[in-house]
Amino acid sequence: MSEVATEAPPVAAAVRVSVVLCCYTMERWQHIVAATESLRAQSLPPAEILLVVDHCPPLRERATRELPGVRVLDNDGPPGLSSARNVGVEASSGDVVAFLDDDAVAEPEWLGRLASEYADPCVLGVGGQVSPQWESRRPAWFPPEFDWVVGCSHAGMPSGTAPVRNLIGANMSFRRDVLATVGGFRADLGRVGSHPAGCEETELCIRAAAQFPGGVLCYQPEATVHHHVPEARATWRYFRARCYAEGLSKAAVSRVTGAQRALSSERAYVSRVLPRGLAEAAAGINPARGLALVTGLSATVTGYAVGSLARRHQDAAGARDRFLRTAATATPLVVAMALWLLSLRSVDLAAMTDLGLVSVLPAGYWAGLALLVVTIPVLIHRDRTPTALLVAYVAALILMFHGTPSALYESLRYSWAWKHVGVVDYLVRHHSVDPQGGGIFNVYQAWPGFFAVNAVLVKAAGLSSALSYAAWSPPLFELAALFPLRLLFSTLSSDRRQVWLAVLVFYLGNWVGQDYFSPQAFAYLLYLVILGACLRWLPASHRHARMGRWRRWLGPDLQTAEATSPVQRRVMLAVVGLLMLAVVSSHQLTPFMLLSTLCLLVLGRHIGPAWLPVMLAALTAAWMVTMGRTFLEANFYWLTESIGHPGANAQAGLVDLSRTSIDQRLVYYAKGGLSAGLVVLAGVGWLRLRRARAPRRGAALLAVGTVPLLAANSYGGEMIYRVYLFALPFLALLTAGIFYPSTSRRWLGAAVPATLALALAAPLCLAYYGKERANYFSPQEVAASEWLYSHAPGGSLLISAESNLPWGFTHYEDYDYTSLEGLPTPERAALTTSPMVEINRAMQNRPGPTYVVLTRSQTINARYTGLLPTAAITALTTALHRDPSFRVVYDNPDAIIFERPEGHPEPSR
């Protein structure tokens, strides 16, 4: 930094200085003219003079008209000096931006002296002396120590060039990049019109010093301006008011920067400068000056105290208001969860009818569920709800809806989940898989990804089996889907409300129940992540290349993909390849669903590179012909016969309703109605989005992307449900498009989506809970299964009437399994008339022991599916009781096990 200059400084010609003047009233016109003229007379001409008019159109017009060479700008921000200065900074082009008050006149060397200090690269800003130019004469009582009251340099400031904490607003300059880096002046501080607030420059200087630790703010007293002090400011009244306002402003700065920084100069001022002033007043016998010193200090301290208290009060009030608002918003959540938890205590599972859980859940549960379902759309519609709260609400909905069976049942629900636990058990015991082996679960051995992850968890965590946690799979998988869903939706739509309403609609439309402990649930999550990752981070490199008409129908209409570097793109491609491999090795169907959608996305140039689906197809084919070869060979006919028959494949899973109860018909209609309703709603949403010129073609493509799979296979009668499941996220997004994007924030606007949510929730409960009577296994049934595996010797044949029972969960490979529902239709029909013939047929003259297991849930499921005659299980039980070759070895109210010991003669016909 330079020493005190005694001569005119060298002109820092290399430094371009923009000068900003801010004005707000016509009353100062003469001063404004004088200020601009003083700038024109500078020895170092300013690069530009910017006059920012603070919300005073007449002044702007006059300045534009009468001040040639001055660039006149409007403060288009909030009124106030800070905001006006920021406008000037933004419009400036110089290396340095200097500020001069509109009622100040600069000496000719002003800019040159300021600019010369910038030769030191450490200098962030330079300010100069501001000397008062009293309109009348200086009042005798006005202490020089308080010249800051009239915006001027005061006694006690350095007499030569020196670093200072802050500069004076009437005469200061900063490097423009410093101002840009610190973000300019805070608009909530500083003078507005004639209101005597201040300290905005102090706060900025503190901020700049903090952000540039080696930087210096320099006071150069030779760079002088003369500040006009009107008579109105030479009064006691103004003196007190300005001191008080300065105290308030200091309190505001303290709040922003901390009291230590905000008051560092003031402590020295109070401890050294003011006592010296008092001494001088006493020595000069000027009691008025002494009184002014005391008054000014008192007023400033009072203002600081009041400002601090008010800020604290405001902070406390603000925090209290925020807390109360959040608490009020979260109240329905708390109430709903309380209702849910209380309602669980009064559920009698034994009283379940053919409406499943719907028939036994108490009113409190429904009230809680309805409260959540209605509140979430309202919160989404408000658009101010924090994301964390929305996540909490949706998580609560998931927990309440999908966690209720987990919380109520003593055992794992759904028979296939038990079988999957058995495959994990196999892997843990054998340390290998046997994809080429036989057995009922060999298909799982050939696609072991999901089971391999769970085997690690079971073994490494020291668990006895996956039964320890598998019961909570539905809420966990559904909750886990929330995050990839949000990633996917926010990539396909830029409207936050549409995204969150789509999340809600997804959960209200997801009745399919593929969230149990299964490879499908795992692969479905990865499917969502892959699509989200491809759309967001792997956009086609020439998305807007010339496209044919058909491609214009398919092409992307929303640019939400994120920019990626070439390295990041390559890594992301590798990650997507890894996820694809995990999907291919975990589930048979999901790779084909993914392949279908990826092909459409590539064709529409939503994603790239084009070889992504080729890579997936190659991985799938390679897996099929190696790991899946045995399965393929055994099921080749079944897999190929249905190709090209979409109608038959779609209807393959339909149930013969004539043999089911009215309640089950209702459940069935709820599934169909909910699915069809969502398809229709998605169509309406798509039309509405097209009219709003936001067609979301990506979502539309993905909604139909899996439909071609209907022409490939029936997937055991489940293909139509799986197609619906894989299309559901995108049907949900299009359905949300009925309501959003929209600019409405009125409460009434939430009524329709809330009503729709309720309308979806009603059939969802029927569809999802409606088969729980069959999916639920009582403790007696589980006890029978456990007895079976602890007593039946290896090699035994285990026969059930129907496959819906909790078996196969341990040592499954030691046994052979047969379900009578797998018999051809004529033999199934004969079960009521000659059951032992069919048992004998199933036994196939095996010499080893045979066990026939009949349970409550088999009887119920047989009625639901209609695969067995109504009286088949009763007839079977009666016949087995009568047959001398069989004996009852286990019996409880919900299960009975018959044994035919090894070497026993064939049962009677």
């Binding site: 892997l427 843990v428 340390h431 290998s432 898989v433 994809p435 072991p448 990804g449 999901f450 391999a452 992850v453 085997a455 690690v456 968890l457 079971v458 073994k459 490494a460 965590a461 020291g462 668990l463 886990a480 995050f483 990839p484 949000r486 990633l487 795992f522 999550l525 990865l526 992540v529 989200g532 990752a533 967001r536 981070w537 994120e562 920019a563 990626t564 570097s565 390295v567 990041q568 890594v571 992301m572 990650v575 890894l578 996820l579 491999l581 995990a582 090795s585 975990s586 790991m627």
Partner: protein, 109 residues
């Protein structure tokens, strides 16, 4: 930034090692389960995050968990197909991949 990264790397290394150690020492099931879930469900994916463009916290969690589970699935099933599966091998393999990614962080874009 480098200070933040140093701390981040240390935390991840500790998490990996603690996870492996806890999973192998026969401590109580809940603690072991949590450690195992952290190792197989988060560590390798989180270690790879510096190479990925995911920016928001939700995006990062989604990608980290998906990578970790996929990596565990592929590694575990590969060992199972080779007839060499043990949980310890999978855990150590996953942890090594995570540590390797952390140590290679300097080459991340």
């Amino acid at each position: 930034m480098s200070a933040v990264w140093s701390r981040y790397r240390t935390i991840l290394l500790i998490a990996v090692l603690a996870g492996v150690a806890i999973a192998g020492t026969g401590l109580g099931a809940p603690l072991r389960a949590l450690a195992v879930v952290a190792v197989i469900g988060l560590v390798p994916g989180a270690a790879l995050l510096p190479w990925l463009p995911a920016s928001g916290s939700m995006q990062r969690i989604v990608i980290a968990v998906a990578i970790s589970l996929s990596l565990t699935a592929v590694l575990s099933e590969s060992l199972a197909i080779a007839g060499a599966w043990t949980a310890e091998r999978v855990i150590i393999g996953v942890a090594c991949l995570g540590v390797g990614a952390i140590l290679c962080r300097r080459w991340a874009p």
